[in-house]
Amino acid sequence: MAKNNKNILPLTGSQAVAEAMRQINPGVVAMYPITPQTPIVETFAKYHSDGLVDTEIIRVESEHSAMSAVLGASASGVRSMTATSSNGLELMHEVVAATPGMRLPVVMPVVNRAVSSPINIHCDHSDSMACRDLGWIQIFSETAQEAYENTLLALRLSEKCLFPSMVMQDGFITSHSVENVEIFSDSKIRKFIGKYTPKNPLLNLDKPLTYGPLELTDYYFETKFQEAEGFECIIDEYTKIGKELSEVTGNNYPLFEGYKIKDAEAILIVLSSSAGTAKEVVEKYRKEGKKVGILKPKLFRPFPYKEIYKAISHAKVIGVMDRSMSRGAFPPLASDIKIAINTHKEGKKIPDVASYVFGLGGRDLFKKDIESIFDSLLNNKYNITKIDYIGVRK
């Protein structure tokens, strides 16, 4: 297993995130099982039983309670985590919204799963997309390795900017598939994470505080404006903290990954594990001389509009693949890309943006699906006013 003295382990995405949690050693972890997130807290509970962490585990009766416990623990002044998926995230939604309102740096791994109804345990991004406007930092991960490292980065980013983070990975595709994952040494990671000094600990009896009071027409808007301004530093801090983590891991933490996009005429934009499949298609098409590329956003909230615009503005056409819907509107990622292009064009000619929805409820995405998208983009067979649904029996 040891290769070049690297600690490479065969881990699923869930186990990789549990490793990050072990290294973080949070003060409190509240846990409630939900497929496909369960192996995260299950693995962490094992670490707890084995004495590898001294976390206080709270076994709660629902996700609403899990998030409430984590909010309270974070306000008290310790690192606090939970993990969830799908309907669990929906059930905790009220407290998910309250957490950034109190500026608490909670980190929550989210294993993306479709939302009821109908009940479906497989991957799509509907769950976390429904939370994208609540004030959480959102980072999407393609692989188990990325999910592990993003969790560590998110912790520092949250604690620096005082907003909670969700770290996404694809349900089953990433969370339950075994990959080679390099786990970095505890001492180096713990040095990177550092000692936690809470900004406003509720348990500091020398400075009594009230969290979550009433603010009506007189002050609520000012508090929300603080959040808007507070979010502005996140992109820079992500890059700075990413550089620090880079010194430990040797990996890079860009806002997004561009794969052969520099001279690409057609660029596909897609989140998480599907980007891996898309890169293979790019390889094939490049060999055939077709100028195609992939852009995989990593930091999704805040959305790096300007940076993404600069990376794609030279293309003739952009295809955006969303693994979620927004009924009656363009889906989340396509909307953001359209905004990025239209906001930063400065009078220049802009690429067309074609919107595709795929993979809902875990519907497999095949290479041939991506090929057909590239073919339509390269042959001018797309309609920018409509959403195309890929892989569905219409």
Partner: protein, 93 residues
């Protein structure tokens, strides 16, 4: 009163000092206020215990004290609870 800007208030809606609720004189809300007939009062302190705003004082000798009208919302629970009918709610003008 001049309101503070977003940069002058603590982040996250936190209130960073205790007892600020005392600055909010909720007694302004009332339409009715309690008037106590001292000749009828038996100092049982039922009104003290039943006041949801905790604004009827109890003195060191155990006898009922004055009503703090700054915080009395005029709910009338004290008048309802008084076993001897010593408290009457009158319009607060």
């Amino acid at each position: 009163m001049d309101k503070k800007t977003s940069k002058q208030i603590p982040i996250g809606g936190i209130i960073d000092k205790p007892k600020t609720s005392l600055l909010n004189k909720t007694g302004d809300w009332k339409k009715m206020r309690p008037v106590i007939d001292e000749s009828k009062c038996i100092h049982c302190a039922k009104c003290v215990l039943s006041c949801p705003e905790n604004c009827i004082a109890i003195k060191k000798d155990g006898k009922r004290g004055d009503v703090n009208l700054d915080f009395c919302k005029g709910c009338g629970i004290c008048a309802k609870e008084c076993p001897v009918g010593a408290i009457t709610m009158v319009e607060d003008k």
